[in-house]
């Protein structure tokens, strides 16, 4: 069934939809990595004078709420068949975005620990609903063949923007920046939800086309391989997020590392980091599109291992850390972010995308975030020095890297290699 408008116009509409979706997802991710992850920490520590432990505990609670709501909402979406209803998803996205805009606008009114907890509870619920809804739109906008590249575009746009924004991580500045972006998002989502137009009708029907609606990892019969293989991927993504988060949480606490990289006053340094994120996103897109997933995961864990090794060695010596470390870090983070944006739609159909995106993002991303936060806090409270902390992270990354090599080696020994597969 061809859901497109006839001729070249149909392809043009698909391309425009793809760019629109990429822009919206990039803006959403930018909101998450700047306003949520950095701004709320600033709100707790600087504005409300809470201890870093108190703030991190609340952020872990926020992750639990997000995870729970995402799972429940995603399950309900799939059960009620809403995952295949484009207009409903657009309306849900509009509702979520409205709540987030409202919460962002009133964040500066928060002036006590209790109010911050309540704010985080509401924001976690909104974010939890946003996960299955926005990820489910992938099957409407992005053809399967273009998912790697689209994920690369989203990742590159989000991280480049995050690095080009002024290095001011104060909640006031971040809230203002987000409130400038949000009206445009509200307008676009409202258009998708309520306006009748041939272009929007095409987007609403594209998921019926197998080139959009059937993920690349699903066999041609249309039945998915859930849950065993999906669980294996979730476990790997969990490990990647966990390693990243556990290391980065401690680096955030180390001004030497942050001021010479992500929080540098020199625009050139931040631009270079943004450029490396773009490079990492492009490499991730190519790897996701043309190479087997094992090569991709090996690269990610290998990079994490190498990066933490550099940080560990630098932490032992005196002096300013070299820019190579955050650059390698940025490369690895961009690569796995590409996978996050592309993978869940590729293991789903329009009917199952809600619950699978929720399970994937919640169990791999959010669970890893709050577990690593809890562990990092425990280590900080126990007085574990930075060097030792990074050594553990490094050991974890190297262990995962070596485990992946062993798995691949024995898997290949057990079964003949398919010569048609694109692997290194």
């Amino acid at each position: 069934m061809d859901a497109r408008l006839p001729g070249k116009k149909g392809w043009l509409v698909t391309g425009f939809g793809l760019l629109l979706f990429s822009g919206m997802m990039a803006a959403g991710y930018l909101y998450n990595v700047t306003f949520i992850q950095l701004g709320l920490t600033d709100l707790g520590e600087r504005v409300l004078s809470l201890s870093p432990t108190a703030v991190a505990t609340r952020m872990a609670g926020f992750a639990v709420v997000t995870c729970t709501v995402a799972l429940v909402f995603g399950w309900w979406m799939t059960r009620s068949g809403r995952g295949a209803d484009f207009r409903w998803k657009a309306k849900a996205a509009l509702a979520v975005l409205s709540v987030q805009a409202l919460l962002t606008a009133c964040v500066l009114a928060v002036d006590s620990a209790g109010e911050m907890s309540a704010w985080l509870l509401a924001a976690g619920a909104a974010m939890g609903a946003a996960v299955p809804v926005t990820f489910a739109l992938t099957v409407d906008f992005v053809p399967v063949a273009a998912r790697g590249w689209t994920a690369g575009l989203i990742t590159a746009t989000a991280y480049l923007s995050a690095n080009l924004l002024p290095a001011d991580w104060r909640i006031e500045v971040l809230a203002k920046d987000m409130l400038i972006l949000m009206p445009l998002g509200l307008l676009l989502t409202a258009g998708l939800a309520f306006v009748r137009h041939p272009w929007i009708d095409q987007w609403a029907n594209q998921h019926r086309d197998p080139s959009f609606g059937r993920g690349r990892y699903l066999p041609s019969a249309g039945h998915s391989r859930f849950p065993l293989r999906l669980l294996a991927v979730i476990a790997i993504m969990f490990a990647a997020f966990f390693i990243d988060s556990l290391g980065f949480l401690r680096l955030l606490d180390s001004p030497t590392h942050m001021l010479s990289a992500w929080q540098s006053n020199e625009p050139g340094v931040r631009l270079a980091l943004g450029g490396v994120h773009v490079l990492g996103a492009a490499i991730g897109a190519v790897f996701y599109s043309y190479l087997d997933d094992k090569t991709l995961y090996l690269s990610i864990f290998g990079l994490f291992g190498l990066t933490h090794l550099l940080y560990t060695m630098a932490a032992r010596s005196t002096g300013t850390p070299a820019l190579a470390m955050p650059m390698l870090y940025a490369l690895a983070v961009s690569m796995y972010t590409v996978v996050t944006f592309a993978l869940w739609a590729d293991v789903s159909t329009p009917k199952t995308i809600g619950v699978r995106a929720a399970v994937g993002v919640a169990l791999s991303g959010w669970t890893a975030t709050f577990l690593s936060t809890a562990l990092a806090l425990r280590w900080i409270e126990a007085g574990l020095p930075l060097t030792r902390h990074l050594q553990w992270v490094d050991a974890g990354a190297v262990l995962l890297f070596l485990s992946m090599i062993l798995v691949i080696y024995f898997a290949r020994s057990a079964s003949p290699v398919n010569p048609k597969r694109g692997h290194i």
Binding site: Y217, V286, Y290, L291, M313, L331, Y409, K420, G422
Partner: protein
């Protein structure tokens, strides 16, 4: 072979991951501010490529300092030689250099009271060596280089026609994949080689792998030559030259274009880097030509 490669990889990673604490004492400074504070003694050989090193009053550095750039301020004591090829050396009134201070093109300022065991200022450099050679000499050098490359390419294409053809085919069909793999591999290999060298224990491995890496980069010339061989083939019209002949000619042609590419302002060097890493990617994708690479979008999930 696979098992040996795997064993080697494990051993290299395991030893590298150990960090080899206290088993190395070299310090490489490339950027940033570094300080040896009063009462602190650091025993190390220091190489400065950039950045700033301050040895405060009461601080001691035991070991030689080689400066190729950067800014060294001494208010304490250095027990060893300071060889400054470039950069700036400032000696405070309470500074002591217990060794030779050798300056080539470095800027040295010495306060009254600074004690230097032996100061050799402005080592004469052969300025003529920096002058560009006449055009005919440059052209001759380039021609000889191209001839050598073509001869090596000819020999390699006679010996290893299929592996080179596989890598060339990958380069022709999947340049974007080769570029992505090559860029990532080049970044990781370079960082890994430097890190391994820092552990001292792994210096031989690092040097060995470094030689292989440089060899692989050089081999990309021949891969490009092989990929462009069909173009050179057309120059012969009715005659039918062998792959080795057309490949050797194409390698020389590629090397010439590559050389000219490097002369482009601003974009030249990055483009050269991209070209070389793409070739490296093609070699890696085909495991140095041992098997053909076919990209397939319909893959299994784990």
């Amino acid at each position: 072979m696979k098992r040996i490669a795997l064993l080697f990889l494990f051993a290299a990673i395991a030893v590298t991951a150990c960090g080899a604490k206290d088993h190395y004492s070299g310090t490489l400074i490339t950027d940033g501010d570094h300080r040896i504070e009063a009462g602190q003694t650091l025993e190390t050989v220091t190489v400065m490529l950039g950045g700033r090193l301050v040895i405060e009053d009461g601080g001691r550095l035991i070991g030689s300092i080689l400066m190729l750039g950067g800014d060294l301020t001494v208010n304490g004591t250095v027990i060893g030689d300071v060889s400054a090829a470039a950069g700036a050396v400032r000696l405070g009134p309470d500074s002591t250099i217990d060794g030779t201070l050798l300056s080539a093109d470095a800027e040295v300022s010495q306060s009254d009271g600074a004690v230097v065991d032996n100061f050799v200022d402005r080592v004469e450099t052969d300025l003529d060596a920096n002058r560009p050679a006449p055009w005919w000499q440059q052209a001759l050098t380039l021609a000889i280089q191209l001839a050598i490359r073509a001869a090596i390419a000819y020999g390699l294409l006679l010996l290893l026609p299929r592996p080179l053809d596989r890598a060339a085919e990958t380069l022709r069909r999947y340049p974007h994949i080769a570029a992505a793999v090559g860029v990532l591999a080049a970044i990781v290999i370079l960082v890994l080689l430097v890190q391994m060298a820092f552990t001292v224990v792994l210096i031989p491995v690092s040097v060995g792998l470094g030689v292989l890496f440089v060899g692989a980069l050089w081999l990309t010339n021949v891969v490009y030559g092989t990929a462009l061989a069909p173009l050179a083939h057309k120059l012969f019209r009715d005659k039918r030259p062998s792959l080795a002949t057309s490949g050797a000619l194409a390698t020389a042609g590629f090397a010439l274009v590559f050389e000219l590419l490097g002369r482009l302002p601003l974009a030249g060097a990055p483009l050269q880097l991209l070209v070389v890493t793409t070739g490296l990617g093609a070699l890696i994708l085909t495991r140095f030509g041992l098997r053909a690479y076919v990209a397939a979008p319909d893959r299994d999930l784990l």
